[in-house]
């Protein structure tokens, strides 16, 4: 457990519980669960759309470029809504919930939508060679580049602290 004296931003508190920050592997597993879920949902939705389209398409096949562009845009929007929605409402995606972690603002509290979008941007630029996640290993509060950009931390939560039913974004 990594712990330190009270932050000045929190104000006087009688006995704050020590906070444990989630490390690289825990966060990677949570991300993998989210990625799996997102891709399964996207694949099912794509399959349904293609089946319906096959019912109504008559004659020669049309150019599918426009369809691919629309699908890609919808996919990006879905990913954005999924992550930013969960981060800013419950602080937990499905992967976070399974791994019992939560994203909170560095000074405590929920994440505002704008900082959620900033964090998403930070995650996207961190993906090449996963360079943006390596700081988790060496920074004191196990923060990645996206955490530093959005001023967030990822902490472990006890099962009792988890919200019962996280609302869909």
């Amino acid at each position: 457990v990594i712990s330190a004296p009270d932050s000045a931003l929190d104000g006087p508190r009688p006995d704050p519980a020590p906070v444990e920050y989630a490390g690289l592997l825990t966060r990677t597993i949570g991300m993998a669960i989210d990625a799996l879920l997102i891709n399964v949902v996207a694949a099912l939705a794509s399959g349904a759309v293609l089946l319906v389209r096959a019912l109504f398409s008559v004659g020669a096949p049309r150019d599918t470029t426009a369809l691919a562009v629309i699908g890609s845009c919808l996919y990006v929007i879905f990913v954005l809504v999924y992550f930013v929605g969960f981060w800013t409402t419950t602080g937990q995606t499905v992967g976070n919930r399974v791994m019992q972690t939560r994203i909170v603002a560095a000074n405590g509290g929920n994440l505002p939508p704008r900082r959620g979008l900033t964090r998403m941007l930070g995650m996207m630029i961190s993906i090449p060679l996963l360079w943006g996640f390596l700081p988790i290993l060496v920074t004191p509060r196990r923060r990645a580049v996206c955490d530093l950009m959005a001023r967030t931390v990822v902490i472990f939560v006890a099962p009792a602290e988890q919200p019962n039913d996280p609302p869909a974004p």
Binding site: V19, Y21, T26, R141, V157
Partner: protein, 180 residues
């Protein structure tokens, strides 16, 4: 004409017969119903009287005082632990009768219908789903615990590689409230 006269003469008699029959059935059914209820009432009252009396307490106390239960328990334990009992069980289980009984049981369609009914019952479905959730929770618990341990090991390795060593007090993270 003759037929009409005959039927006019017989009709009141038939009506009277039906009426008598109905009344008799009613009286008999009412009597038998009352008799049944009375017998149930008497039985329950008797049982209630016996249970509320001190007779049962006396009987139980005497049985306890006589040590019959201890002797019975000791005798049963000795019989169950004896080599003869083991030999008897081996003989019975090794006999062809048991094999035949099991074969006949497995060939019985009624058994598989019962199994199907039980497997499709809501209670069993609920139990299986609860078991699945518990198993998933256990898997997630194991993954979480192992990941936490691996997090620490990875961090130590990274700090060793970067020459940072242990966490310096100045680098120590601020304690904060996890919830808003």
């Amino acid at each position: 004409m003759l037929r009409e006269l005959a039927s006019a003469a017989v009709r009141p008699a038939a009506r009277l017969g039906r009426d008598v029959d109905r009344r008799t059935r009613h009286v008999l059914s009412e009597s038998s119903r009352r008799a049944l209820l009375s017998s149930v009432d008497v039985t329950l009252a008797t049982v209630d009287g016996v249970l509320s009396s001190e007779v049962l307490d006396d009987v139980a106390a005497r049985v306890r005082a006589s040590g019959v239960l201890e002797r019975l328990d000791a005798a049963l334990s000795a019989a169950a632990d004896s080599p003869e009992a083991a030999k008897l069980i081996r003989t019975v289980m090794g006999s062809r009768a048991v094999d035949t009984a099991f074969e006949l049981l497995l060939e019985n369609d009624a058994l598989w219908r019962v199994v199907d009914e039980v497997a499709q019952s809501p209670a069993v479905s609920r139990a299986i789903s609860h078991q699945s959730v518990t198993f998933a929770d256990e898997v997630a618990d194991v993954a979480r615990n192992r990941a936490r341990g691996a997090d620490d090991r990875l961090e130590r390795l990274a700090r060793r590689l970067t020459g940072q060593g242990r966490v310096r007090p100045a680098d120590a993270p601020a304690r904060q409230s996890p919830s808003p």
